[in-house]
Subunit: 127 residues, 2 copies
DNA sequence: ACCACTTTTGTATTCGTTACAATTTTGTTT
DNA sequence: AAACAAAATTGTAACGAATACAAAAGTGGT
């Protein structure tokens, strides 16, 4: 965190820690629900502020795979996602790295790549 | 449209036509702005209803690449997008088809694949 | 012309996110 | 330690895209 010019605080550490230990691609609300038990005074605005701070600094990812909510990912290794439209589960995938580079470098500067597969997962299909 | 069990109407034809001729990946609002000139009584609800009808039927794509708005695409050939964070421009890409299939078919049923590259485009970089 | 059914429309509501100002915390200087 | 400036946190209010809902208009068949 410090290496990115961000001063640590109790709230910031808690939020980053939540993202690094819960690989659930949570929304701001889910993070709030998860942390407010132990930090009752935590404000939702702080969560939004902090998430923006972190994602601008590149230490977390702001995912747009969910059209209803912003979702956040503490794993910044290039990876893809599978989203089950039925149960909502989000799975991580790690395809070959080549996919994450632009085919031809046409003078573009790439900051983020998002690869999302939408469909029905195995267990939802059989139910 | 009829082949997908959707009855055509003046509004539906206009909305589909807008998406097939404008490759701008518009929001519902942008479609409304573009059509209300010639169809003054067109309602925004109709646009939302119709876009949902079309994307559920698979004749258009509901893109989640923009975290602020739903965006829609009349081009349903598998393709990727580049989004310039500076000027907002959205470009189409057509990588090899293999990318759009799941690496290993793990019993999943894929309905949609979204591949988005976020960054700065050439002209914004030089300005 | 009548009727049932579908589509469209406008308004009201919801809810995730942001704006903003006040309060609290942190770090530094004297 | 006290005082001060700067930064972070908090709560409330506001915004706006998307949805819910009921009324109105349109469509097709008898």
């Amino acid at each position: 965190m410090q290496h990115h010019g961000i001063k640590p605080s109790v709230q910031r550490i808690a939020i980053l820690n939540y993202l690094l230990t819960n690989h659930t691609h949570p929304t701001a609300d889910e993070i709030y629900a998860g942390l407010s038990a132990t930090m009752p005074t935590l404000s939702k605005t702080t969560i939004y502020n902090t998430l923006k701070l972190f994602s601008d600094a590149g230490i977390i990812l702001n995912l747009s795979l969910d059209e209803k909510n912003q979702r956040f990912d503490g794993c910044i290794q290039p990876h893809a996602h599978f989203i089950c439209s039925c149960c909502g589960k989000i799975e991580d995938f790690f395809p070959e790295e080549e996919i994450f580079a632009l085919p031809e470098s046409s003078g573009k500067e790439i900051h983020k790549v998002e690869i999302s597969y939408y469909g029905i997962c195995h267990s939802c299909k059989c139910r």
